[in-house]
Symmetry: D2
Subunit: 344 residues, 4 copies
Amino acid sequence: MIRFNCDYSEGAHPRILELMQQTNLEQCPGYGEDSHCDRARALIRKACGGAPVEVHFMVGGTQTNLTVISGLLRPHQGVISAASGHIGVHETGAIEATGHKVLTLPSSDGKITAAQVEALLDEHWHDETHQHMVQPGMVYISLPTELGTIYQKSELTALYQVCRKNHLPLYIDGARLGYGLAAAGCDFDLADLCALCDCFYIGGTKQGALLGEALVLCRPQLLPDFRYLMKQRGGMLAKGKLLGLQFEALFSDGLYFQLSRHAVEMADRIAATCQKKGIPPLVVTGTNQLFYIFSDEALTALQQKYAFSYWGRVDERHSAVRICTSWATTETDVDSLCADIAAL
Amino acid sequence: MIRFNCDYSEGAHPRILELMQQTNLEQCPGYGEDSHCDRARALIRKACGGAPVEVHFMVGGTQTNLTVISGLLRPHQGVISAASGHIGVHETGAIEATGHKVLTLPSSDGKITAAQVEALLDEHWHDETHQHMVQPGMVYISLPTELGTIYQKSELTALYQVCRKNHLPLYIDGARLGYGLAAAGCDFDLADLCALCDCFYIGGTKQGALLGEALVLCRPQLLPDFRYLMKQRGGMLAKGKLLGLQFEALFSDGLYFQLSRHAVEMADRIAATCQKKGIPPLVVTGTNQLFYIFSDEALTALQQKYAFSYWGRVDERHSAVRICTSWATTETDVDSLCADIAAL
Amino acid sequence: MIRFNCDYSEGAHPRILELMQQTNLEQCPGYGEDSHCDRARALIRKACGGAPVEVHFMVGGTQTNLTVISGLLRPHQGVISAASGHIGVHETGAIEATGHKVLTLPSSDGKITAAQVEALLDEHWHDETHQHMVQPGMVYISLPTELGTIYQKSELTALYQVCRKNHLPLYIDGARLGYGLAAAGCDFDLADLCALCDCFYIGGTKQGALLGEALVLCRPQLLPDFRYLMKQRGGMLAKGKLLGLQFEALFSDGLYFQLSRHAVEMADRIAATCQKKGIPPLVVTGTNQLFYIFSDEALTALQQKYAFSYWGRVDERHSAVRICTSWATTETDVDSLCADIAAL
Amino acid sequence: MIRFNCDYSEGAHPRILELMQQTNLEQCPGYGEDSHCDRARALIRKACGGAPVEVHFMVGGTQTNLTVISGLLRPHQGVISAASGHIGVHETGAIEATGHKVLTLPSSDGKITAAQVEALLDEHWHDETHQHMVQPGMVYISLPTELGTIYQKSELTALYQVCRKNHLPLYIDGARLGYGLAAAGCDFDLADLCALCDCFYIGGTKQGALLGEALVLCRPQLLPDFRYLMKQRGGMLAKGKLLGLQFEALFSDGLYFQLSRHAVEMADRIAATCQKKGIPPLVVTGTNQLFYIFSDEALTALQQKYAFSYWGRVDERHSAVRICTSWATTETDVDSLCADIAAL
């Protein structure tokens, strides 16, 4: 079985394992205060164009989301998100468990717009009984979204303007950020991003690391005492070096961006094959996540050999699946899949 | 200005004030352990047909809802509710503040069905990643609903069967329970209700009391140690006698039911006038809350003299309003409103 | 049985009941936006010497405490309190239920000192692992304390200076504030208090009202959106007028202060009798709460006729009890008790 | 600088890195459902004497503690712990952040006794106002404790009997469990432990793994749906295999026990040297954590070369430090330290 169902099937990029091996018996201070973490922070700051950002290494995405969001909101506030947003669907109510409601906006492609946020704010503040309702307190988006789509720079700019005007922090879940930045249609880079939101995280787990996400606070004054919050939520790893060294490896010699491009190229090849074959996309993405609609017969045939992520029934005879590539996807496996799709 | 905008504009029924006056300087134990609370509990149990229910007196509706719901759920569970449910809209995220998500079902009349709950459960349990999603842990309905509608006995029976089969407690928010029981279309009574859900509360605040709700636990084993929970959430009144004596008065000589009938009769008269005049209802209720669609001109005229609760725009020239009667609504005020509607 | 066990055995002062009676059928807006609440707020502001304070009416003490404290703290912060503080002992973990630790300081008389707070802060900030510990985020004191004692103006001044220097809000639980202000040893008044802390509440429940506490925000910018917080915690009463009118009555013609003085005079008389008789105090208070140590035989004899609050065993043959007076305590009852103590 | 300050300075045991390397590009299902996790679970069950325990792999200790404790308690309940317990001191209020109070018992050696728990329960249940106080809901102990001490089998047996009799789950924090089991004075093994508590975790982070703790539920019916709870608290690693394979390596061929014994032997050697030299222990441990009292001069000299963990001032001229060994401590470093102590 060849797995295209997700982007966290394998371990880590060899250069990470190598660095782990080399430095294994070094004695380091714990809790993210070692030299590997320091170097990784410096490398990330540099990749961010030298912006005076604060960088913290967290264990996983759910934890990063719940720590940041509960740190930014007051008790009566909620976080605005697309209805399909990871925090509202696939984190077992982690945000609610910290006391806050997820205020959802409808979205067909996983994105939300400045206009939608503005309308929700208008509605809230114009309701006479607004004190009886959760106050919108911040905005969460994922980039790429859960549907693999990415925002244009102009969309982010508009969204962030509405946020700033209304004193709502904008936080970006970048579990697959590299795959988004590597997409052909992406018109901004990491440095731009630092001016387009208040905080975001650079996903490691799905992008070549064993685990770990690098949280970037573009305006650290919004989240003072962040290390207390990390510790409280169980997100401060004793052997923090394990997180630091992975980002050290990923942000040395452009490895992170190189791995991201590889995954996107692999996905592009599959997308081209599907297009040629006339298999319709559920949504057009450009990133490492593809969503295609197959006939049930075709799917049954392909699934003998390949694992996909089932997305939903489209009509009586067709279903949508998610096909994921990653830094670890081999050309051989992609060639094999493309051939089998072409032969359907 | 004559207020028809809500059912909590006035103080309390005179018999309540009288009993307060008479017993004012009695020395009582605090926290609901006085003889007035005891008598009120006995009277409510009797009105419940003698079922072995546990009765607690709480200060208000939001507090009752959050105490009961957080007491019934484990951390990873959420409460199923109509999207229009009070807990999901008008309690400033009180449920989320205790750590739990409100899982909403769409509803055009404020009610949810057994089939909807069953479908949501199926969807949850058949999803391979269900452990990544909030687990449905109980069901909340309001009776009458936020749209003034009531459930039929058969609907409640079906809903409770699904709940019992799936080990989901069913809790009924009865802020206006009396007005529901007094509706012409209601085919069950308090005693029936005890066998149709796990717990419910009998609203006092909107039904003739100054404040207070009587929570009835039909299966008290589901909420052991309830008095601890009340105290923790700030819902255990030091001078608990104030709550007890109000329910003592309301449940003596059928006063509660009599006041409820009065409000419904007043509403029925207004409804009849609207019908005669051809003013369309937004939804047909039968209880003390009416929802009618007026032209904006008509509304402007009526609002010179009467306060309604604005509900929403229906089209460019029409809006829906909520008209509420209560135990305190006078025939004079209703006659006046009916005359003015008839004269539109 | 004559109750001296607490100060919430009776109903409300007759002037309150009178005002309720007179205004019972007035139609008012809900949720604290009626004219009685407005008048009460103005009267309290006046009693506070005209300071630009914000006043909110809450249902009870536990709720006021949990709403204020959870509104002031960030997730990783805790509230400093005497170990005997009400929030740490007798509120069933209400503060913890909002996510925050109570950081306790030892105290033999219920008070804490500026030096103690400073030492705790030093210890926290000098610990290398302080990010692994709860950060002190505010200070809670009760006045009078749970042991009936009061702070001197100089003590409060020193405490508040430490708080301001360290950016810790100081909040005062004034469940029995009037009884404290009426004590012979009290060297400050309500107006002074507004400059000696960031917020405090004026207790109603134990001071002549049926229920209700008036929260005074001396620096309202520390708790923006307070009405959202009240609603979320179930503390915003629909018929808010009930709270407003009680404080309207209590703060008209100095009633609040007059009732407080009465209770303290009654307590002073009992204290004088005990002193004469050589019955030792557990702690000297000056307020409406007395703590005396009786032999077990004496206690058994007195308890045939009087209810006290058992406080704890002192030695094999002696126990301490709390004796409470209130606005409602009669001279007859006090004379009777004094005679019986004298005759022991 | 040679680090004896903690037991998490180095990376992982070479066999773990080897297994990671060998299996790095295997494609695995995520979230702990891979074959390495399965094998590790089987190995741990075997080491537990074949008891039908449930095993979950969590990222770190704070997260394990907060997930287990919040999963076991109802809202009004707290967890009993030694005042020195990790959850009460060094987790930034993680337990309170889930809504629960830590109920502390005094302890000079880090342990609590059955008699202490029984006394606390008696006190709670005999207090007339117990509903106003947090209800004891479970017991937490650490083994070894934060002071390096271990429980005797008879002490655990007595403690668990009190727990079972009172329906309080007993949970053991085993961050350094192996070092405890390897102590000369330990009179029980892993299999015994399964009958002496309701759940415990086998620490990985401090015992040779990069990160990860293996939670063992001896009575899994107490924590149904545990995987939901893990996910909600951010404790379910996407690449769960990383945790599984480490415990697979540690529990193959007795590696875990072998590493534990090594650390204890190293510590024993240091302890013997101190004893010979007449340096007094703060507490006698037998595990990998030693607590010795040095003169300030001696300490200053040693700290030129060695890092210890400062524990506290003992008198004007003496301080206590913690000296930690681990699986990675070399004989050379220990020889060097012993020589330097002997030469003081």
